[in-house]
């Protein structure tokens, strides 16, 4: 079932301008996030997942900036006007679009008022590095209530109460006492829950979660993922989930984007990606998933041969070419494969499928 579009990313390019040269961290990325759905972004370390997420919020670190492309945010009515803009499943979504405010986030001033209003309120993010995004010198309680007060008109007492409620909601024991603790006193999993509580404090339309469970054990991971699903049902937010755990993708995703070296290799619904992967990179990723009970006694693990190329010396033609078993000399090193559509919101960037 299709739900209305929330974010449409078109040909996004975010580059870093360093003394040694330009890092094309995100280099022509297209994908769509739908309301109420979960989109998972997977790909090799350094392929640009976090930078893509940061681009949406316009919080790309210096010396990086968005150099091209659009990030169209279809702002749900409940956030743009006072009206009741609850998400509806019927066709009205499409016709309702005519009144939906569309904002190009890529064109906003990163320090401007508009994007600051959107951050945290419309779109919030759980960062990959919980310790650097929680302030070490402020208590957990202070940080959550600050986030609440920034985007709502709640007063101190109300904000405190709301913070306790949020901490309880994400499964933190003794939430009243936890308000007084500092982030360093919490375990990795607890910090992650605090981050989720903060990110949810304003009921966002989109929650971006960058590796939200890499720091926690599997039972806690199962709970956090379940929590995210519950909260999604309850609040109807879309989730953009960045993870390298394909098990998590299999359990959470509606749609999947597979990235490689700053570009999309393949995207589609979760079932197609796992059961009918088209791109050679996706195929080898799926083969290198360690499976319980299977990798036992194995001397070495399968890995994709070679390394991710130096961002300053990107291959010509297809970015995956130097590591690809289907490499076609003369073609794959000549053309950067365009998006080849395979169905609605299903496409692959590989020349093997050019004539289909």
């Amino acid at each position: 079932m299709e739900t209305p579009v929330l974010i449409e990313i078109k040909n996004l390019k975010t580059h870093f301008f360093l003394d040694e040269g330009t890092v094309q961290a995100v280099n022509g990325v297209d994908f769509t996030i739908h309301q109420h759905k979960t989109l998972c972004v997977v790909g090799e370390s350094g392929c640009g997942k976090s930078v893509t997420a940061r681009s949406i919020l316009q919080i790309v670190d210096q010396p990086g900036r968005i150099v091209e492309g659009e990030i169209l945010y279809h702002r749900p009515d409940r956030l743009s006007t006072a009206g009741n803009g609850e998400w509806t499943s019927d066709e009205a979504g499409a016709s309702g679009n005519s009144t939906t405010e569309i904002i190009d986030l890529a064109a906003l001033d990163p320090r401007g008022r508009e994007i600051r209003a959107i951050r945290g309120q419309d779109i919030s993010m759980i960062f990959q590095e919980p310790m650097t995004s929680l302030s070490p010198i402020h208590t957990v309680g202070n940080q959550i209530t600050e986030a609440i007060k920034l985007h709502t008109d709640m007063l101190d007492d109300e904000a405190d109460e709301h913070a306790v409620e949020l901490l309880r909601r994400v499964g933190i024991p003794r939430p009243e006492e936890r308000l007084e603790t500092y982030p360093f006193e919490l375990s990795g999993g607890m910090r992650q829950r605090v981050m989720i509580a903060m990110a949810l404090s304003c009921n966002p339309a989109l929650l971006i979660a960058d590796e939200p469970t890499t720091a926690v054990d599997v039972t806690t991971q199962a709970q956090i993922l379940e929590l995210l699903e519950e909260l999604q049902d309850e609040f109807g937010m879309a989730i953009m989930l960045i993870t390298h755990d394909l098990g998590v993708v299999a359990e959470m995703a509606d749609d999947v984007v597979v990235m490689y070296l700053g570009q999309v290799a393949e995207r589609g619904d979760v079932d197609s990606i796992f059961h009918d992967p088209k791109h050679p990179y996706t195929q080898s990723l799926l083969k290198s998933i360690p499976r319980l009970g299977v990798s036992r006694n194995r001397q070495r693990l399968d890995s994709i041969r070679g390394m991710v190329p130096d961002p300053y010396n990107r291959p010509t033609g297809c970015m995956f070419g130097p590591r690809c078993d289907h490499f076609m000399p003369g073609r794959c090193d000549a053309v950067n494969p365009p998006a080849i559509p395979l169905g609605p919101e299903r496409e692959v960037h590989c020349l093997l499928y050019e004539d289909e």
Binding site: G46, E129, M131, G171, E211, V218, H244, G293, S303, I304
Partner: protein
């Protein structure tokens, strides 16, 4: 723990370890680490977080011991105690020194610890927080070499370059600062730093958790290669059980500051004896979207146990699906249920718990 050769042959290749394979390198006895909980203006102590509460285990020379358990159960704290980054609340940490004697690191002063800090190294859990943002990579990786006067100048640079190459990073990047690297790249910087001094024992705290599958496979292969090459011993903390299964000889399962199960890896996965281990194994996500509904995952009910105020009796009892009256009253001891296989559950012998069977391939 099953076979301990007392006079094993000398296997070590480098000057930094004369212990033989099979010898006990580390013997942790009744280790405790409590953190005070303070309140009020005078920071009066009103209780303790019993982060690690009376754990004992041994690590043999050349072996890899896995440490798994729920977030907050004390794995990192245990690791930091072994490094003596913390003062201990109680217990002993015997470490075999170069002469083959077991030395208790527990009471050593900072100065006395110095020679051991080269031999016991840690790869930190959080690659973002553990690298100094104002230091270029050459200093991050090279500092241990400089401080310990192992190398300087051009030689230092060469060693750093080869360490970086070893972990799959480009030596040309050594003048960059940590923020210019992705999560996985930073993790490798941390590994290079830990290995710089040719340690004997490496505590790897979630060392590969920030890595994606194909790079992780490379790093795990590297970790195994280095072990063979230098007769390294690892304590490997990870929540990724497929990684644990691949890399570890034995596994220690912790729950709220205590050890609940210890066994050889294969046995633990095939036949767990503790209900918490069973839940842990069942929570591993299945990489097939079509299995979403079918999985008989044990979702642990109830609150995350709080080490400041643990439940009575068996700490796991409020969440255990096999709980009986006795469980809330008596604390089970860690007992040997089968040879080399220990569990802390009153009913370990009676229960038939599910382990992991080989999962099918994708269709």
């Amino acid at each position: 723990m099953s076979e301990q050769s007392t006079n094993g042959q000398q296997l070590s290749t480098s000057e930094n370890g004369s212990a033989a394979a099979g010898d006990i390198l580390l013997d942790v006895k009744n280790l405790q680490k409590w953190f005070p909980i303070t309140a009020g203006f005078f920071r009066r102590t009103i209780g303790h977080v019993k982060a690690v509460d009376d754990i004992s285990f041994q690590v043999l020379q050349g072996e890899t011991v896995g440490l798994v358990g729920e977030s907050g159960c004390g794995k990192t704290t245990a690791g930091r105690c072994i490094l003596r980054a913390y003062d201990l609340t109680g217990g002993q940490i015997y470490f075999q020194n170069h002469d083959g004697k077991m030395v208790d690191l527990g009471p050593l002063s900072n100065n006395e610890m110095k020679p051991y800090r080269q031999q016991v190294r840690m790869i930190f859990q959080d690659p973002f927080n553990s690298l100094n943002p104002r230091m270029p990579v050459i200093d991050i990786v090279g500092d241990p070499l400089k401080i310990n006067k192992v190398a300087a100048g051009k030689e230092l640079e060469d060693r750093v370059a080869s360490l970086l190459a070893r972990v799959g990073l480009r030596p040309e990047y050594m003048r960059r600062y940590p923020h210019a690297f992705s999560g996985g790249e930073r993790q490798r910087i941390g590994i290079a730093r830990a290995l710089a001094l040719d340690p004997r024992l490496v505590v790897a705290d979630e060392a590969v958790s920030a890595l994606d599958v194909s790079v992780r496979a490379q790093i795990l292969n590297l970790i195994k290669d280095l072990q063979e090459e230098f007769n390294l011993t690892y304590i490997f903390v990870s929540h990724d059980l497929s990684v644990i299964e691949y890399i570890c000889d034995r596994v220690v399962v912790m729950y709220v500051g205590k050890i609940v199960e210890v066994a050889e890896t294969e046995e633990l996965f095939a036949q767990p004896f503790h209900p918490y281990t069973e839940a842990l194994l069942s929570a591993v996500p299945n990489p097939d979207p079509r299995m979403r509904q079918q999985k008989d995952r044990i979702v642990l009910e109830g609150d995350v146990a709080d080490p400041a105020n643990p439940p009575s009796g068996c700490y796991f009892h409020p969440r255990c699906r096999y709980v009986q009256d006795q469980c809330s009253q008596e604390t089970p001891d860690l007992r040997e249920i089968a040879p080399g296989h220990f569990a802390a559950c009153h009913f370990a012998e009676e229960l038939t718990l599910a382990g992991v069977t080989a999962s099918g391939e994708l269709g």
